[in-house]
């Protein structure tokens, strides 16, 4: 993986970790990738909204 891609992955994971900490709403793309709602809408993907709640 080149440095630019690596940086992008690190930044992405950081944003997702923040979303976890803040309990932010996310969706899951068909690949299983956890995404922000706006991104999925922009891509026109049939992403599923993760319902609110808590892990058991």
């Amino acid at each position: 993986m080149d440095n630019q891609n690596n940086d992008a992955v690190v930044a992405r994971r950081r944003a997702l970790a923040e979303a976890l900490k803040n309990g932010q709403d996310v969706v899951v793309a068909p690949s299983g990738e956890v995404e922000f709602k706006e991104e999925a809408q922009a891509d026109g993907q049939s992403a599923i909204q993760v319902p609110s709640g808590k892990l058991a």
């Binding site: 992955v9 899951v28 993760v50 319902p51 609110s52 892990l55």
Partner: protein, 182 residues
Amino acid sequence: MAFYYWYQNDPELYQAEVMAMQKFFPQFKINQLQDGSGRLYWRGKVQPIPGGLTWDVMLIYKNDHPHAGVNEYGGSVQILPISPRLKDIAEQTMPDLIKTYGTYDKCAQRGFGLGLPHIYRENFGRNEEYFICTADPKYFKTNQAHSTSAATALSWACKWMMLCEMWMNGEISDDVALEGNY
């Protein structure tokens, strides 16, 4: 006439389950366990985070789907990662947890009794396996108008996989992993 299997009792629910999976996770295929239980399952692969693991998972319906008893974590759709296998991961994490918390009992009190946050164990075939606790039973919908589907359970599971990978990689703390907010 009432049947033993949910998919015979409620063919419309079965169709809805299939449609939801085909829409949201088309790479997953449905099949029946070859253990005589008649249970249906989905199997497929997901990669929840960039640069992360690809998980090969089974989503296994209990025969009383949709159902969620008080202690039935994850309701009537059980999520079993085949690869990576949770039991194998937990065996690797437990020594570090014991180092951090001092004793096994303290790990267990903290919520890491099985070596990973939010999992449970159950016999599956001849082995004891570790399953993902996708959601507190109170969030699993079981009424006729809205029941929690395998697709929804998988969306919870993908978020759990993200949480698990980030926790193992030190990107989130034990507190965040145990809090498990969705």
